[in-house]
């Protein structure tokens, strides 16, 4: 099991969502993808995608406009 880190700070729609999907596609079941970004819409929409994909949302945090989302495949 590995932890994949993804940095999409400064990227706008649809890049953060698409990059998360690409990372989750490459990951193995059980792997954790941790994505860091700044686009406010993506902070709302990445959890929606995680639910639609039937994966597990582990954590969402935000500090000074930078959010971090942890997902388990």
């Amino acid at each position: 099991m590995s932890e994949i880190k993804l940095d999409v700070k400064g990227e706008t729609c649809p890049v953060p969502l698409v990059e998360v999907r690409k990372a989750l596609k490459k990951a193995s079941p059980g792997d954790i993808v941790e994505v860091t970004g700044t686009n406010p819409a993506s902070k709302k929409e990445i959890p929606m995608a995680v639910e639609a994909l039937g994966m597990e949302l582990l954590d969402i945090t935000e500090e000074n406009g930078i959010w971090k989302i942890k997902i388990r495949k």
Binding site: G10, E11, T12, C13, P14, V15, L17, V18, V20, R21, K22, K25, M48, A49, A52, L53, G54
Partner: protein, 133 residues
Amino acid sequence: MVEKATIIVHSGDMDKIYSAFIIANGALSMGMEASLYFTFWGLQVLLKDGLEKSSQSKMGMDLEMMLKKANVVSLEKLIKDFKELDGKIIACEMTMDVMGIKKEDLREDLIDEYGAVGTYINEARNSQITLFI
């Protein structure tokens, strides 16, 4: 069965091509399948030099500046991501007949399938989202 989005790309205007790929990539990212059915002016964008020609002629400077300023990704990246997430591109055979376009005139590396209206209907009847752009 996996949910699906099927989009007809009829327009060759660059702003609309952008919209089509952004929506399709959104659908793929949200766990759906996505098919883009390129027809008429849309199909011309899939000509070998179509992307460059369209971006020069159909996208005004204002829009180009706006997209750049807002840090929106390039169309090339949108297309690359679309293919990487297994998005399907269908080229309209009727348009090819009407406009005298041959397979070798097109970006065959991007096209998964060639079909006419029946192919679109078959895709669309199993889709939860279908759009005409």
